[in-house]
Symmetry: C2
Subunit: 226 residues, 2 copies
């Protein structure tokens, strides 16, 4: 599992975060499909990314078809779209790993942590989808605009939380393949740190007038991957 | 305010986290008092720290007396003692800055985030004490055993959250005076990140077999203070 090429479907891959991850994974050798409710939109997004990559590596398809053919599904949609999008794909998600990148930002105060009643919106997603889907939380704190440039070195770690250890390992591998350092952050309940941290990073960006605050875990005694 | 010597009372300064901070602040020139319900215990703790420091810099006193004479009060007690300790000092805390270091760990699963109903236990403290006390959240993620050695360089930032900007600035200054880099993390609601992060760091310590995982905020474009 850990060395083979993966089929990765990015649902929400037409946005900045999803398209950046899609390009990085395609360059790392994975088969990447952009999924969108509108297949024409997905194909257009894939064509645009392929132009940036200079090679036809990424496909676009209707989300349900893209998910069906994938080993790993990555959800990169706005908070308001997270639950309806995932519930609409529940049947085809069964048995798969779903990496949820959703941050529960509540506009307009996006620099203030405002957790949902379940604390973690990814925990809520796991509850809605049931145990048949292995939900993992990751990538909430990575700057979308740095991801978009596939050559950009990103000074940020990826906290990976989930109740299935093998699924966490897949997400950690995909973080590495995107040029990031994935760190095992434990059970899905621990996802709340990454989900809440994005608001703190937005606050820090505004307060210190910097574009892309991120985090590094220290004490691991190794050079962070980049 | 920002350049003068501060009178700092550490309530819970007989513990590892509190005593490490007390020593570092005393060495930085602040007047530091250890507060404990039992004044004899506070005096004994102060004597022990003074021996380590090689100078009689720190005093011990009953918490209520120590708080009365302080500009800034720092609460470093276990979660279960946080609310009763602070409520017992409510009258003398009025008008002061209270830096709360409490982490809402729920044994035995301390590596799993288990937030209280209010999400942040520091937000709950502010609500209990009322607006007369300027509550700031800080220092939750700093290794107590590294703090204890006042010469140890600590590779960890301090997220400082609070609803009063000047009070946050005092905590950021005290982080710097303890050899750490304090970072303005915004309103008190944002404290939940630091409170939850400690469980994630405990998980990382166990999983990667390291003693002291910490965090750094990246993107600030300056060498972290140490």
């Amino acid at each position: 599992m850990m060395t083979k090429t993966l089929s990765v479907c990015v649902v929400g891959g037409t946005g900045a975060e999803g398209s950046g991850l899609a390009m990085r994974w395609a360059r790392a050798g994975h088969r990447v499909t952009i999924g969108s409710r509108d297949p024409a939109k997905a194909e257009a997004a894939a064509a645009e990314l392929n132009q940036k990559l200079g090679k036809p590596l990424i496909c676009g398809a209707a989300s349900s078809d893209a998910v069906t053919g994938a080993d790993v599904v990555v959800l990169t949609v706005p908070y308001a779209a997270q639950m309806p999008t995932a519930e609409g794909l529940k049947d085809v998600l069964d048995g798969k790993i779903l990496i949820d990148v959703t941050v529960p930002l509540v506009p307009p105060k996006v620099s203030r942590v405002q957790l949902p009643p379940t604390d973690s919106c990814v925990v809520a997603l796991q509850a809605a989808l049931g145990e048949g889907v292995k939900v993992v939380s990751a990538f909430q704190n990575v700057s979308a605009h740095k991801l978009k440039d596939p050559d950009k070195v990103i000074d940020c770690d990826v906290l990976v939380a989930g109740d299935d250890k093998e699924a966490r390992a897949v997400a950690i591998r995909l973080a590495g393949d995107a040029g990031l350092r994935g760190i095992d952050a434990g059970p899905l309940a621990n996802s709340v740190v990454a989900e809440a941290l994005t608001s703190v990073l937005i606050f820090i960006n505004r307060t210190y007038k910097i574009p892309d605050a991120g985090i590094r875990i220290t004490g691991l005694g190794e050079t962070p991957a980049a």
